[in-house]
Symmetry: C2
Subunit: 550 residues, 2 copies
Amino acid sequence: MALQLIKKSMPYSKVALHMTRVSSVRLTSAYSNNSGRSHGHSNSSSWKKASLVGVGGLSAYLLYKNLPDEWKIKPNVNAYAKSLPVYSADDVAKHSTKSSGIWVSYKDSVYDISKFVDGHPGGEKILLGAGGPIDAFWNMYAVHQTPEVLEILQQYKIGLLSKKDQKPVDLNDPFANEPSRLPVFKINSKKPFNAEPPLEVLTDSYITPNELFYVRNHLPVPKIDLKSYRLEVKVGKRTVKLSLDDLKKRHKPVTITTTIQCAGNRRAEMSEYKTVKGLSWGPCAIGTARWTGVRLRDILLDAGIDAKDPNIKHIQFNGKDDDITKACYGGSIPISKAMAPDGDVILAYKMNGVDIPRDHGYPLRAIVPGYVGARNVKWVHQVTASHEESHSHWQRNDYKAFSPSTTFETADYKTAPSIQEMPVISAISSPAVNATVYEEQGHIEVKGYAWSGGGRDILRVDVSSDGGKTWQAANLTKDEPNADDSAHCWAWTLWNVDVPVKPGQKVELVCKAVDSAFNCQPEGMGAIWNLRGFLSNAWHRIPVTVAQDD
Amino acid sequence: MALQLIKKSMPYSKVALHMTRVSSVRLTSAYSNNSGRSHGHSNSSSWKKASLVGVGGLSAYLLYKNLPDEWKIKPNVNAYAKSLPVYSADDVAKHSTKSSGIWVSYKDSVYDISKFVDGHPGGEKILLGAGGPIDAFWNMYAVHQTPEVLEILQQYKIGLLSKKDQKPVDLNDPFANEPSRLPVFKINSKKPFNAEPPLEVLTDSYITPNELFYVRNHLPVPKIDLKSYRLEVKVGKRTVKLSLDDLKKRHKPVTITTTIQCAGNRRAEMSEYKTVKGLSWGPCAIGTARWTGVRLRDILLDAGIDAKDPNIKHIQFNGKDDDITKACYGGSIPISKAMAPDGDVILAYKMNGVDIPRDHGYPLRAIVPGYVGARNVKWVHQVTASHEESHSHWQRNDYKAFSPSTTFETADYKTAPSIQEMPVISAISSPAVNATVYEEQGHIEVKGYAWSGGGRDILRVDVSSDGGKTWQAANLTKDEPNADDSAHCWAWTLWNVDVPVKPGQKVELVCKAVDSAFNCQPEGMGAIWNLRGFLSNAWHRIPVTVAQDD
């Protein structure tokens, strides 16, 4: 809607006026949706400054004021002047590399975005559109469709696209086929859909109901027809193609119970400490399910893998979710994890006893216990044994963590290790932040979850009602014994404890967990802060007020 | 020497006077040597108060003042009165249980220590002496031979031992056969020998020379004759006995490089925060060696183990180091670790290419990579597949960690999990604490080590020269590729980095490491403090002064 408001004929003053009404937060959150990283060149610094201002809650007007000079609208450029040259699609196509300059077309105009590409918050994905029309990309990545982004584009306008090449853009919404979801979700992004369940229900059951399991999608949910669906397994020169039925017939089904957690879980708290880039997840981007499927190890052995082949170092997964260039979501895991008899990596077709819901990977999802959610690739249709990690943007240029002092300018994605195994974390699910609580015999009940990656169990959860001065060990609830086919502890521990309080007190509840390797959570966000807000596992702190006695 | 000073005829006033000259620190450190825990009964609390006073540096006189009333010398008791009854060794022997009362003899006297046993800082080991002479124990555990401990004993005197039963005590020092050691060690306890190398040499080589490897012994070093030495492997009803040659002939040798660390490494720092009980280790109770031996898995399979037998849950190790009751040092590990093909547990006979030195376990030592040092049992001569953990004192009543709010009174050793896999740690080896350093072009070099248990690699070490406000990632030095027969990273990472400083500044250098599961070290000791001072892995902080320019 905001897009339609900006008509070609709208004078700049009106655009500026309009901008003051648009929440600048939208711009930033939109841009930080998926990958959201820039590449450390001169432009990006200023762009980030602009973004930070946005997040700071100032108006888009201020955001505009803070734009780097080279991006500001120059008084001598009239984007709509008839005197601009006309280019053909062929002309545009000749400018698709950095050496030739990078041109794109959008609707009826041609833009030279050479100076912008390094500052693109979505990283090098912008190059997918180089030398051609970007209309379809902007339908795909709907985050671009804000007046602010359009205005930035206008500065790079160099001409008009010839009428013959102004093909009608395919306006089919790639998100038109999304599954329906419960309205209770807290939505962090609609397209792609990213949402978490409400905190007050998260730990009500040990197994998270499918309908309440957080959804972290990077692209539209694909619609997959089982009749034509095949899993391709590539080992060396051999490719095996298997229908879901083939898979079920050839291999024994196993059930593995795992907790899956997004690398960005609890990011909002880290951003409160100091702004980070990414979806603003609360503490509910985590859930536990029983997954039924077949062992990846069995599938790979069946396909002829030599587990001792020194050239095979990674197993890559590709999902069926793709963008208009057919670039799909992907990820990879080390061969050691994939082949470990007790690594429990499976390709699952059931989630909690039913076919995996579309939002969670129908018909097949890689389940990589103890690893970051991002490697639990949904809609998996290709499995490849390789000497290297997946080339996916999300493996190479995202889901990596840096030191607190690393900036987008100094971050070296090439040498930084991918996030795989996850650290210990815990969170309080009840009471809620700033709740007024009623004590009973001088106590209130505090509840929550704790989890660690790598199959490490939770040994202890310490809970404090005085901000961390004194601690009480919580009662721990584990999975039922022999509930699955694993010897490891891949799933969370729920906990509860009564802590002492006094009527009328304002108290800070705190929890921290210790895993079976005695790793513990850091006290604050400062020491683990990182530019993308991953692995936000500091002590969880919940201020509450204890009601006065009647 | 102190013992001889207190003659039978010495009046109490002189004893008291003498006590004021004896460092009370000796008493406490002596008592905290080995296991050093009491059992949470009424006496122990006051005992600990007394110990704390001792550590606080006050005199033994104050220590005495703080003793619980029931332990103080009663004016109406004259320990040396001739009118005391005379008991035979048989009389004493009838009092060896809590129900009959617990008597012991020492030299020419008999003592009823029933009221003391629950408060014994060495735990239930005291019961080993029940109903008999304790002279030999006191030679063994020489920590008792201080005037203060003798004085406590005197309060429980109930009679004299008959002359015929006053056999000459075997004064052979069980520590007479200790190997020789380099004088550079920082000795934390002489008998048993516990010592660490100087910090300034610790990270000078990736592999720690045998002669500089920290020594953590719980008992005297046994003298083992290879001719008679046999390894007993017990699986079910079957016992296999193997000479070292048998072992070498039957199984393929493998070399595994591991870092071994004492659970008490860096304990002194935790004690600075708040006093804990245990040997006062600095940051050098850690070292790295290449161990050559045979896989425990192979030995167990050879002995007929059924790895899927649900009744086999632990593999127990017994050492040849024992006390006068033949109770030996022991420990156990979970069957999953022992049998994992990539768990890399070996029984090693070589340390860095030579026969394992006596101090480190000659002729055979269990090497349990990624686990606490205590389970790397030295002088191992018995391996037992069992449904339960080792009954050793050090498995059941020591090497467990509790919450910061747990006291000796509330600690439940029965339900607390044993320390096995270790958390991430790092330390600065240079510069030294309070050193004056000379900057070069505005920088100084900082060096150290980092390690994590469970085969987790070190991904990053952050170093700060402003107390933790800003950080720099250090250069990491890993082992040579393919240096051993393991696919895992069981050994430490050495690191160095140049950090910015200004002449004349006093700065606090800080380091913290991140392991491959993104676990990180806690900022301070408060959140991980535990009564025995284990797992002291907070950020390492080193104050230094930067010299003024000339």
